[in-house]
């Protein structure tokens, strides 16, 4: 029958009119990133970290610059964990290489900045900052 398609189309549009909307009001609402999202800054869990430098060895772009300190108990721990995110491929090799799963992405996708040197940050320092905040 001719003209049936017109009514079907009207039905579809009115269904979509009352449906839940797909868009997100960006500055107020943000889409939650999935678990496997690689991006943002590296978060170092210093309790788990054994300072083996596996992550920087796995890095194809030499984006990780680590400084290891050995204290009086012959225990190794990170003094500086510098991540040059300008060089970073976000390939996840460092996270995969870590034997104790001490590093992870914080999945914050708003990483644009005005100056080149803001791309480089120290994960250990970030942890200290979080501690002082708390």
């Amino acid at each position: 029958m001719q003209g049936k398609g017109l009514l079907v189309g009207l039905g579809i549009t009115i269904k979509h009119f009352f449906r839940k909307k797909e868009t997100v009001q960006y500055p107020e609402e943000k889409l939650p990133m999935p678990e496997t999202f690689r991006g943002g800054k590296l978060v170092l869990d210093e309790k788990k970290c054994i300072a083996c430098k596996m992550c920087s060895m796995a890095c194809p772009n030499k984006a990780l610059d680590l400084t290891v300190e050995i204290d009086e108990n012959k225990k190794r721990h990170m003094k500086k964990y510098i991540h040059k995110s300008g060089r970073c491929l976000y390939c996840d090799f460092c996270v995969e290489a870590c034997p104790t799963k001490a590093i992870s992405w914080n999945r914050d996708y708003e990483i644009s900045c005005y100056h080149k040197d803001e791309l480089t940050y120290d994960a250990v320092e970030n942890n200290r900052k979080d501690d002082t905040h708390e």
Binding site: L6, G9, L10, I12, T13, I14, H16, F17, F18, R19, K21, E22, T23, Q25
Partner: protein
């Protein structure tokens, strides 16, 4: 004697002015000015609401929210748009016929606003209840085609000219089914007067008596107001913007304004002819009128955001080969029906 809400307000106003001015002629002049201002206020407010509504409805149908940033719920979006258009540079094309080109947007607004003189907004609230009301509406509405032709011709731009030629073809072919579908209503009413057409629907709306005429009228009205699926005049994917291509800033805003004024008058005409005008229970007539008009406008928007644009030949064949025979058939059936009705009672 009429007892509508708008009518009582007007009576109060004229009595108040009369007590100040103390002369009948002075009162009439002031009242006429107030009425003119009222028409323009209605059109302006309606345009602000309609543009916002259009964008919202479009957004909702496309699973988005639409404008919701400027003001509460984005109500002031249209105001922001208007301010933006007013501050734009006024660009005049080098080759255009400057006088014709400049006068077109203003001329286009004349028929769009003139039609409102004969619309019944409420019980007795009608600016000029002339005895050829609906005929006047059809005559004035078909004038806007001249402005489209003028604007397209004066722009000296091939796309504008194609658009204006399309406008002529489209409006000519939409006027005729529209006239015949209105004729069926007029046959039942036995009068061209707008107030008579409304009062004839106090028992049964004409949408019940004339469903075929109603459908034909809606389709030809969409053609008349250049809305999708029949927005061939603008046709933004084929001919940049049709007759509006060379216009910018405030001149374009005037085109926009008259387009939405036409949409509102199409909705008012539909309500007046087929949906019982201001008739309705409980509430005063004006509120019923506004509610019905907005429902009809929503239906127009719903239709226009559902269908893709037709080709010009498809539109012409729909109008001449389908709508016109159907409208003629409807007139024949209506005539037989009216004859039988008179014979029975």
């Amino acid at each position: 004697m009429h007892y509508g809400l708008l009518m009582s307000i007007a009576n109060m106003l004229s009595n108040g002015i009369n007590s100040i001015v103390n002369s009948r002629i002075g009162t009439q002049i002031i009242m006429a000015l107030i009425e003119i201002i009222a028409i323009f206020a209605v059109i302006s407010v309606a345009v602000i609401i309609l543009v916002y509504m259009e964008r919202r409805v479009c957004g909702f149908i496309q699973d988005r929210l639409g404008p919701n940033r400027v003001g509460p719920f984005g109500i002031l979006q249209t105001v922001a748009d208007m301010i933006k258009l007013m501050t734009k540079e006024d660009i005049i094309p080098k080759k255009a016929h400057k006088i014709l080109w400049g006068i077109t947007p203003m001329l286009l607004f004349v028929p769009a606003a003139l039609v409102y003189a004969v619309y019944p907004f409420g019980d007795g609230a009608i600016f000029a209840d002339v005895n050829i009301g609906i005929f006047f509406v059809m005559a004035v509405m078909s004038q806007s085609v001249l402005m489209f032709l003028l604007g397209g011709f004066a722009s000296e731009n091939k796309y504008s000219f194609i658009g204006s030629m399309r406008a002529v073809a489209q409006m000519l072919s939409s006027e005729i089914p529209m006239a015949f579908s209105i004729l069926a209503v007029v046959m039942i009413t036995g009068s061209l007067k707008m107030s008579d057409i409304v009062s004839a629907q106090s028992n049964a709306w004409f949408v019940v008596l004339q469903p075929l005429a109603f459908i034909i009228f809606i389709i030809s009205m969409i053609m008349e107001t250049n809305r999708t699926p029949f927005n061939l005049v603008e046709g933004e994917s084929e001919i940049i913007a049709g007759p509006f291509t060379e216009y910018s800033g405030m001149r374009w805003a005037l085109f926009f304004l008259s387009e939405y004024a036409n949409l509102l008058s199409a909705a008012i005409l539909t309500v007046t002819l087929f949906l019982g005008g201001w008739h309705g229970p409980l509430l005063p007539g004006v509120f019923w009128f506004i509610i019905k008009v907005f429902i009809v406008i929503f239906i127009f928007m719903w239709i226009s955001w559902t269908y893709p644009r037709t080709r010009i030949d498809q539109m012409m064949s729909l109008s001449w080969k389908i709508l016109l025979p159907l409208a003629l058939l409807n007139i024949v059936v209506t005539g037989i029906g009216v004859y039988i009705y008179k014979w029975m009672y």
